[in-house]
Symmetry: C2
Subunit: 214 residues, 2 copies
């Protein structure tokens, strides 16, 4: 394969994203779930994230990289993202899981697009979110049905999540040029492609919002 | 089998103990681990606790009990235990995992001793703690070697954990007489056996302290 210097960065940021998503979802489950059954359901999804972390860590080791070293540059940005987007209730936690992570994952997938097929396969595997999406969508729809006034506040919350994600993403890109380069390479050259990327991300985001009834 | 009314209580308290241990260990790993590798190691142990929770929940369902209902009476006591014993650093977290949970598990194992063999087997399975013990013991011993003055404080911390565990245990026993009865039945009658139980628990506790070099 054409070894891209951004690959270790990409797997590193993804690994820490999964490890921190696991911890955050576990905490949200323990503190915000309205029932023990819901708590268990979100915990199951958290553990899936941990399994993804494991895959990424092992692949980093296979590539001869030190997983801790690969994750380290991204710890503060991702911790800051979680610190600035602490959900206040159960529905906010689910919207965060679905929308916030969703937009981040779209970026990662895009960055991986032109890498070695085995990396693309791994990234696709860890970015699968069917179960998580299904659970979040069902719960949020039911929540809005029970309390229609919640929809407006949740829509605002989703907008804030996207804003914070973009702001952290820019910071990461500025300190890790190799990672930014991956994304640029996958885009090809020229303004048109950047516009196309943003159109694609926005479309995916709007689909998620619509799925939740927001 | 001779259906004991305490069985659902026992599996319920164990299930919630595992579910809350999972959440607490995950949080301790995320906030107190000195490295990402240590964080992953403690997270792995947390996920094992969750797997135990799953086994207990499924058994409750098989017995025709509602898992949430079976766990509910124990939520506040176990949450109080965790709230009152928040570790301040990594070594305190590991001592808590090993010593605090250890003494609680000794009680559960004792309570299960005369139940149906399939229940005894399940309880033994979820109470296995080899991996957790090994990790905690190694880390605490290394920590004390690096900083010998830490030993005295950790010994005090362990004593506090045991005190809090006994106090929460008494509260649970007073509101769940069926569970207390299980323990009494397993003891047989008379003061001698209670003394023997306490001698046994103390011995196991002292062994754990010695293993850590405390």
């Amino acid at each position: 394969m054409k070894e891209s210097p951004g690959v270790v960065d990409l797997l590193g940021v993804l690994a820490y994203a999964e490890l921190s998503a696991y911890a955050r979802m576990t905490e949200d489950a323990a503190t915000l779930a309205p029932s023990l059954a819901d708590r268990a359901a979100l915990s199951e999804l958290a553990i899936t994230e941990y399994a993804h972390f494991r895959l990424l860590r092992d692949r980093l080791t296979e590539l001869g990289a030190d997983p801790d070293g690969a994750m380290a540059p991204f710890v503060s940005a991702l911790d800051a993202w979680h610190g600035q987007t602490r959900p206040a209730d159960w529905l906010q936690a689910l919207v965060k899981t679905y929308v916030g992570d969703g937009i981040a994952l779209d970026f990662y997938r895009e960055a991986a697009r032109h890498l070695d097929p085995s990396i693309v396969k791994l990234v696709d595997e860890v970015l699968v979110d069917e179960e998580r999406s299904k659970f979040a969508v069902e719960q949020v729809r039911a929540g809005i049905e029970a309390q229609p006034t919640a929809a407006g506040k949740l829509a605002l919350w989703a907008r804030r999540l996207v804003g914070e994600a973009l702001s952290q993403g820019q910071q990461v890109a500025s300190v890790r040029p190799d990672l930014a380069l991956l994304l640029m390479e996958s885009l090809g050259e020229g303004q048109t492609d950047i516009s196309r990327l943003f159109a694609k991300l926005t479309e995916a985001h709007n689909k998620r919002m619509a799925a939740m009834g927001l």
